[in-house]
């Protein structure tokens, strides 16, 4: 059985990756404020976990100004999408294996 991805498995990072992967690959990503609402995280916590995902190459962070307001947009990279798909497949395998044993 494949190993779970330690970076993705942390609960908040799992939510971040799930939210980004729910968008089509062609989408422009999610703004930080929308991601915050969707995950229910605080600014600091969300920022720290996005940073961890970005360091792993799973997400890309784009900072721009819309008018005078700074806007941070987070997008899942191809690497991140692949890692997330493998992580979900492993979770499903764990459940299937457990069902097979019982």
């Amino acid at each position: 059985m494949a190993e779970l991805d330690d970076i993705i498995h942390q609960p908040l990072r799992l939510k971040i990756m799930a939210a980004l992967n729910a968008l089509p690959a062609a989408a422009a990503g999610l703004e930080f404020s929308r991601l915050k609402k969707l995950t229910g995280a605080t600014d600091g916590n969300l920022g720290a976990h996005i940073e961890t995902l970005a360091r792993a190459g799973y997400v890309a962070v784009d900072k721009a100004f819309v008018g005078k307001k700074p806007q941070t947009t987070v997008t899942a990279t191809a690497t991140g999408r692949g890692a997330f798909a493998r992580h979900v497949a492993t979770l499903q395998e764990i459940i299937a294996a457990s069902a097979g044993q019982s």
């Binding site: 779970l4 799930a18 939210a19 989408a27 969707l38 979900v88 459940i95």
Partner: protein, 184 residues
Amino acid sequence: MSIESREAAAALNDISEIARRVRQSTIYILASLMLIMWGGLTFAGYLASYLWPRYAGYGWVAVYVAGIAGTIIISPLNQTRSGVRTFDLRMFTAFVLFVAFGIFASVWLGHFTPRQLGTFWPIYFMLVYVIVGLWVGRAFVAIGLSIIALTLIGYFFVGDAFDLWMAFVDGGGLILGGLWMRRN
């Protein structure tokens, strides 16, 4: 790293829940833009009907043309952002069929008076909101039912200022509904 199946199931549940919320918020973002645009146009349509009742028919044709044009413009902008295609030939055909049936029922079959027409169309449109809301989100149901109730109050209890009432209830209601959806 190894976990038990219970934890794996909980993680998959979290993923499904977040995906559902992303889909719903994507729909709400687009719907809020549409509601605000159609609300503004509807407000103008009823206001024109109140001020110049003889030309109300032309006013409403202009509202529909502007509304369809606005929808066609908003759709690709939203597609760039969300990656979801929202207005295409199928959607346009559904809209035309919907409006055609409304005209057939209210003008050709029903011979409605202007006041009855002003009541029929918002109820007809809001009925779609309520039905769609059963699948995509309660906000649509709440907005639809509120506007239907206020429209019926206007029809039965508001006198000559019915079109003015409808400008605020229907047009204003759609704008407020759109702003509320945007905030949430």
